[in-house]
């Protein structure tokens, strides 16, 4: 069950959460979207003090998604997590797919389509010139797509050595910095790796 408390002021988000939790059967998940710090903190406070397992994650546009578990936390969270993602890693070695202007367009197109998939890859690993994607200008189309993927829970890693090599470490706008060992572990550890 999901409720949207955007635009509501205290105490409305808490009261809506309370009502929804009362109506929900055991072993279910309530998702609450809020658009300010006060609502986020208040809903978390309400849920946690009420003995529920609750956590918040940042969404785009200053919003947060709060997940409250009613019932057995670990069992329910684990199954819902697995359902949302393919156990696959998208391995990007370049900021293009193929050569030239077309290659630059293709990568944006592929990533955009990925965003629409019902099941997303678990993580995206960027090495070599692919780090230009995670360090693109804030208003570049690819940045919006990558941030969208991250907001949906996809882990994005940019190779630290590559960021330094191209002198763009301070421009990283999405995801985390990965190291060689972690990268290799992700490539071999997952169910499968897809390279564009």
């Amino acid at each position: 069950m999901k409720i949207d408390c955007s635009g509501l002021a205290c105490p409305e988000p808490v009261l809506k959460t309370k009502k929804a939790l009362e109506e929900l059967p055991n072993d279910s998940i309530l998702e609450i979207v809020v658009d300010n710090v006060a609502s986020r903190e208040n809903v978390l406070r309400f849920a946690q003090n009420g003995g529920f397992d609750a956590r918040a994650e940042e969404l785009q546009g200053g919003k947060s998604l709060i997940t409250v578990v009613k019932g057995f936390a670990c069992a329910v969270v684990a199954s819902s997590k697995e359902e949302a993602f393919l156990d696959k890693t998208l391995f990007l070695k370049s900021d293009k797919v193929g050569e030239g202007e077309l290659g630059a367009k293709l990568i944006v197109g592929f990533l955009k389509s990925t965003l629409e998939l019902p099941k997303l890859p678990k993580r995206i690993v960027c090495v070599n010139t692919a780090v230009y994607l995670t360090t693109a200008d804030a208003d570049a189309p690819v940045m919006e797509i990558l941030k969208g993927l991250e907001a949906k829970g996809v882990e994005i890693y940019s190779c630290g050595v590559c960021l330094e090599f191209y002198g763009v470490s301070d421009k990283l706008k999405v995801g985390k910095i990965g190291n060689a060992y972690g990268t290799i572990e992700m490539l071999f550890g997952g169910e499968g790796t897809i390279s564009l």
Partner: protein, 343 residues
């Protein structure tokens, strides 16, 4: 109480919870200049009221404040708004002379009789402290607001400033905290009637008596706790010159507010205050009542810096005069790491 008018249901935020954040305000008024040879207290120190010297024995104290409804009963709302407006004069150690009504009247939702009751409530409080209402101004407004523009007098040598505490002083607070949380709960009809009456009676209590009593003791600074919360006003008191160490368990808090805070009924103003003060407060382990320190108060109590020698005498005097919530809550120390800390 007569709650039929449902005053709180037609406003976005209740009372001082509707106040503009301290950061926004500082930026907006930063460029205004108010220097003049007769101005003894101006805007530069964020004090409670301004003071203008008339002659060697008299200075004019001026202040203005309006709030949105915090209770549904019009008469009681009038009393609370007036007590809130008058308080700034008492925090300076002054006596009230005259007051003018300032009303934004929500004629779409309320009949004229409501206005009459609000004004009667306000007048009752002005009279209680020996003042008189001599005029006012009313406009139609989408949200109800009421308050007073107040004139009072103070001796120019006996002004109680908000930012002059001495190292070694202790701080006494004369009213309990939790009003922002409680008025938010009143607006949502979440508070039982007996609790609403208790809260309304605290809100409507004038700081007049507490101000008169403190003037008989060795007091170095005084302010009233309002929209910026206890910590917002304590920060102004510290003036970044001293560090104030609070004993959080000694701070009076209305019991019902603690339960509401646990439930997450904390107005956004408290989080705004907390964010503004984040780098002014020494890091401590989280405490259940931490958000109370930032809760925006309407018609809050006086925060009085008094010498340790006089502190217990002042406290006993206040309590004997019916100011039952008064408590010693903090100690003023030499400036350490941060201006504010609690344990």
């Amino acid at each position: 109480m007569n709650n039929e008018a449902k005053l709180t249901k037609y406003v976005k935020a209740a009372g001082c919870a509707a106040k503009l954040g301290p950061g926004d305000l500082t930026e907006a008024i930063g460029s205004l200049s108010c220097t003049h040879e007769n101005v003894l207290v101006g805007m530069d120190t964020s004090d409670d009221a301004s003071v203008y010297a008339l002659d060697s024995s008299r200075a004019l104290v001026q202040t203005v404040d309006i709030i949105t409804p915090v209770v549904d009963d019009p008469f009681v709302y009038g009393q609370i708004a007036a007590a809130n407006s008058l308080s700034d004069v008492f925090a300076m150690g002054g006596e009230v002379a005259t007051a003018m009504n300032i009303v934004g009247f929500d004629g779409c939702h309320q009949p004229r009789s409501v206005l009459k009751e609000i004004l009667a409530g306000g007048e009752s409080k002005v009279r209680e402290c020996g003042g008189v209402i001599i005029g006012g101004h009313t406009i139609e407004a989408p949200e109800m607001t009421y308050g007073l523009s107040v004139c009072g007098f103070v001796h120019p040598q006996k002004i109680y400033r908000n930012n002059t505490p001495r190292v070694g002083d202790v701080l006494v607070l004369t009213k309990p905290l939790g009003m922002g949380i409680l008025t938010t709960a009143i607006k949502a009809d979440m508070l039982p009637l007996n609790a609403v009456e208790k809260v309304a009676s605290i809100l409507a209590t004038l700081n007049h008596k507490a101000s008169r009593i403190m003037q008989r003791y060795d007091v170095s600074a005084c302010t009233d706790v309002t929209g910026f919360g206890l910590f917002g006003h304590a920060y102004e008191m510290s003036a970044n010159r001293v560090s104030i160490l609070f004993d959080i368990d000694a701070i009076p808090i209305v019991e019902e507010a603690k339960a509401l805070a646990d439930m997450g009924i904390i107005p956004a103003g408290a989080y705004t205050n907390k964010a503004y003060l984040s780098d002014k407060v020494a890091f401590t382990q989280a405490h259940r009542n931490e958000m109370m320190l930032y809760d925006a108060q309407t018609s809050g109590g006086l925060l009085i810096a008094v010498s340790q020698n006089d502190a217990v005498k002042l406290l006993e005097h206040l309590r004997n005069e019916g100011i039952e919530y008064a408590a010693i809550i903090a100690e003023v120390k030499a400036f350490g790491d941060k201006p504010l800390a609690y344990m």
